[in-house]
Subunit: 343 residues, 4 copies
């Protein structure tokens, strides 16, 4: 596939500014393992963005960020509470268990979003005995795996429930930028301001070549995260190459520009689907993904010819994810293809 | 530090050809998780280099490569036998234990090299009972952590001992290129030709920005490695960016050019140390590292002013590692600095 | 509590025959770690009971048996499919994850019993990609945590679904004896005869002081189980003391006598609850447990005064489990207490 | 083997008082998981013996005790420092790694005893960086695997070194009773009085049928140990049966009586070996084990005919361990056998 597709935002390439920052960082020698100037600059910038108590730990990918951040929050006998759709619960093989030794308690999440009532009910049902893995962290994905977004009020309510039961809060922010861009908020407004402890801050899906960061908002977790990053294989020796990309995205809020473009493309796609095919997305289009209900029988032909992902072949649900570089032509081409195949 | 130093080859930047390949790969969209053309090309090229049965699995770093490759070779009750100087035994925090659950049995290794007699003695002492972690893999570092190189005959002898006792063989090849460049052999001559099962093939220290590969020479291990790469957090979504770098290094044997330059710089440094300071390296200089014995009292001043690593502060041993871009001026500058501080 | 209660069958003591066997085994010296005559006799007897290909590995407890047996069936990237009520999923803290590194995929199970359709649907939804923990074992609890029993036909259907999708089958048989006693079948009829691979065969809840066994029906798993038993801390040095108890239970089918008594007591309790209080058990009483729906407001007083377990305080569900030594008086005393408190 | 042998003290049976306590505890029902009266009594008695801040957690065996106790003291990135002869380092398969994720750093230990200088040198060589597993616990075996005993002064010196470097201290006390009996001290004198944090207190080798205890002297570790005991599969449901044995051994210091008898038998054996065969034990006989140097060529015949363990077939070292019930006749019979075979 050489054209821009919609299977995932990790099929996109690199934003020119990110690539330029990477190339610039490649010049000459620099101290390894994060003692370089670029990483220092990233750490400073992240404190501006997420708050003055922030520590930033670049890692290689989102699964790594989740495992490092969550493991720092969990005792060996603890469980993480999350959505049944969470990447953590469905798309990270056994990494949470094998590396982190954690139990994953997944809850129903309509349109990808956990509800305070659902979380509270699960937690109320735990009696604290040694027999059960102890819920110790609530992990929220923002924006969600189904392309929806928690409002700040919704986040605050969920954090409140977690705190009431003594749980810490982790945000899987592989697409946090898309949520902030949609809501028009800062990144802090969705994390530090509402009491989140640790964030997996994604760059890979938003214009980077690779790399994410464990953003630590509780200073007591800085050393555990630093040590776990190494012990889980996620410490880059030439760290400047991860840091440079993250710094580029945080500079002049490039993250917002790229995420907003992807969001807008998704909006446009949803609108054109309604107009041309009468298809209403299965979930509210609040980030950069559109979930299209189609006849199950049509799925094989569609995924064979068009760059979309078969999300659920049995019910006939496709996923189309827009990237920072998705164009109107890309959208029109997809809509035309769908019209041809579904018409 | 903006000049080229000697603390480690991971302080170096990117070779221009590797960087160019990375930039080229950044254009446009491509399937994720290794279904892209660049990764396919890498796989093909690796079969030419390592042999037709080779499977290649790009990962993020050397610790990841070691953990993935070794875990694929080990049952949960098994141990890996390696050198007391092995990166695996000393520099990977608890990753081998936490992620891989493996016991690491480390042996004395004069000048970094395991001896067939030493390995045989350890293995002869194991009775196969369930009480002991069962030695199942021999892991050799080539070139070694002390800058020495196993000859093909030495490798064959060690592999022979391993096979006699039913062990598989892994090579930690973070600097395999340096060994092959020194010996004037192919990469296959040091791996597939002598019966190695799995190689951690390093790129990061030899001109790449990040990334190594688990090179699987026993086809039965391909699926385990593929699945463990994900379960250990080492699967890159935009894999083309790892693959492009590895492919650039394997193209026209760039790996040999870069490694040979680093080796030559180390030779030159050793010669100049002898000439100017009368310092004889602690170990034979067979790859790209020089270990310098100096008075322990001098270590603090030297490492404060010069870009070398204090390998052992108590005995007064420094490490100077050369990179693909180390110049004669860099060497002369270091020698002059040492002359000044040690004189 | 010095009287016989109903909170759990692990509140009961030891059957006199089991205790006598233990005392007899305590005489004199014997080889450790299973090389003793009692363990040999147990192995022989187990082959008569479960089939000629059986290997038997005594362990300390049910969680240990489950973790050892399942881990032997699972690659590090695999998942076990089980009921949402399974002990494995709810009552073993993080042992499956921490020790076994396994993902646990739990399914709705009406009255504690998995359905072939439910299992098939979950398995059909897995595409075999490396991203998802791969379902590799189906774990059935027989009798179930809700006091119900799978018929041999139901077992065969579930095993068939598992086999169709390439899964192995494990039975958590902490109360397997109760199921066989209820159905009037042999233990083999519920395990080896229907194609089960590994059984956690419980003794603790059925008259033993401690100890269960990993009963291995697939000979290829014997060595993995032997080695995992040690690597998971479940190998007893003075193994004769576990083996003697298991052998006592398998001798003259004492297991059936004890289990049948517990089952009969549960039947009697259910009948008396209907007669005296008009309470219909929440689930069919097919083993030795009765689940009593009561007004939630009554739960605190009941559990404060009577030896029953609050299974779900919110919905008002109590659990009363009968043991091999539960008497009619015990039942009448409980019924009278309930009548007083609920009346 | 029906006679009393010397292969290990875990070949012995049960002391009559321990067995009687077990039988007494088997009567009737009791709350499970440690809420019973026997366990309460054990906890009280242990506070008298080890000090008022003691918490006691019965477990199934010594490997379990070590893994639970050590894991409670270790972060996931930490290492335990111990002797190269430690059970932990040599005889627990991969349990420390698989269950605890810990790195084990083993040191030379002449005659089984770590030296303060050796420990200090290893710790001085660690720079605290994230690259290395961080030494966090010193684990001492008392009495040692080679039948020797640390004096209280030696213990204090080792604990001092550990404290100076910020390490906690664990004692593998599978044979702690033998050490205290030899030294004529209390158990507290060897543990709480010198600043030990956690003890694996052994019963199995000293007259019990099975069972040891994690004795927690630092109250902050009580909850971690309680939860890890479950998460590592070491929680007994019918806990009274472990507790009763431990309580019997702590009552009227039965542990001292049994250990002293085993020690005295070892003394007698050593003396008779000197007298009759001119064999001087390889290590000082300070507990209940005698290590006999013999010609390597004689080992096969000796171990085929006599109940001793071949400790090292290559150097010709045999181990003879005495138990609480070893008689003078047993000793004479062994000496006569050796005289015949070695004569």
């Amino acid at each position: 596939m050489t054209t821009r597709g919609f299977t995932s935002d990790n099929a996109s390439g690199a934003h020119p500014d990110v690539l330029a920052a990477l190339v610039a960082a490649a010049e000459g020698h620099a101290p390894s393992y994060g003692a370089d100037d670029v990483t220092t600059a990233l750490e400073e910038r992240a404190r501006e963005v997420f708050g003055p108590a922030t520590s930033t730990f670049p890692v290689f990918n989102g699964t790594g960020a989740n495992v490092v951040g969550l493991t720092a929050l969990l005792h060996r006998w603890d469980a993480v509470v999350t959505s049944e759709h969470a990447h953590l619960a469905t798309d990270e093989s056994t990494a949470p268990q094998l590396v982190g030794g954690m139990a994953v308690l997944s809850l129903p999440a309509p349109a990808g979003k956990l509800t305070p009532a659902g979380v509270a009910e699960l937690l109320a049902g735990h009696d604290g005995s040694v027999h059960h893995a102890r819920p110790a962290v609530l992990s929220l994905t923002q924006s969600t795996e189904l392309g929806t977004v928690y409002t700040t009020a919704e986040l605050a309510a969920l954090v409140g429930v977690a705190r009431d039961h003594g749980l810490a809060v982790h945000v899987d922010g592989a697409r946090l930028a898309n949520a902030a861009a949609r809501l028009g908020t800062s990144l802090a407004a969705l994390t530090s301001d509402v009491g989140v402890d640790v964030v997996s801050f994604g760059a890979t899906k938003n214009g980077a070549l690779f790399g994410d960061a464990v953003v630590v908002l509780d200073p007591a977790l800085a050393e555990p995260v630093a040590r776990l990053r190494k012990a889980t294989t996620q410490l880059a020796s030439k760290m400047r190459f991860v840091s440079a990309q993250l710094l580029a995205l945080l500079t002049d809020d490039l993250w917002r520009t790229t995420a907003a473009r992807a969001n807008a493309a998704a909006d446009h796609l949803a609108q054109r689907l309604r107009e041309e095919l009468g298809i209403e997305p299965a979930y509210a289009v609040e980030a950069n993904a559109v979930f299209l209900p189609v006849p199950p029988a049509a799925v094989p032909a569609v995924v064979a010819e068009l760059p979309v992902l078969p999300w659920d072949r049995r019910t006939g649900l496709l996923r189309a994810v827009c990237s920072f570089d998705t164009t109107e032509d890309d959208v029109e081409s997809l809509v035309a293809g769908l019209a041809r195949l579904l018409g």
